[in-house]
Subunit: 101 residues, 2 copies
Amino acid sequence: MKTETFSQLDKVIHEKGRMAIMSSLSSNPDLSFKELKTLLQMTDGNLSVHIRTLQQAGYVAVSKSFLANRPHTSYRLTREGQSAFKAYIELLAQIVEWNQD
Amino acid sequence: MKTETFSQLDKVIHEKGRMAIMSSLSSNPDLSFKELKTLLQMTDGNLSVHIRTLQQAGYVAVSKSFLANRPHTSYRLTREGQSAFKAYIELLAQIVEWNQD
């Protein structure tokens, strides 16, 4: 076991709500605010704050467009977000491996 | 992917420093404060605070004894701590499985 692995876990991603957002965006090309909210059962406030943190880290990008004449906002992982999430999951996989029977 | 899995992650264990302590105690029958400190490269203050949180959750027990006539304090996982950590690792394993290529 390399104990520094724990401190290498990206703290932007490690928070449970943000892990869930990153994981959802990692398996969908893009998701709207409402889709994320329904999927993750988060309040508007909570989801907004987490998305803002992920945007500020450069991990999530927002696209604003029109859908059936109505403004439509959707979110997707940036390339940096994809690679940060991949690295995070690789560290988790090591931790799981050390600790599983 | 079951998104509620993320919210089920035990927040006492999910903090990175406490994950590292739980993982270390899970692979050693007991460790002294000094051994944990050396292993995890934590400050006294940080380590104390995390151990106290884990004790309050009932996950870590302290044993005070004498070793070569000097007081010796060591820490070990309680049965509750072992089972909470096992459940936590099982959730992480699912999250890793969903997100790995």
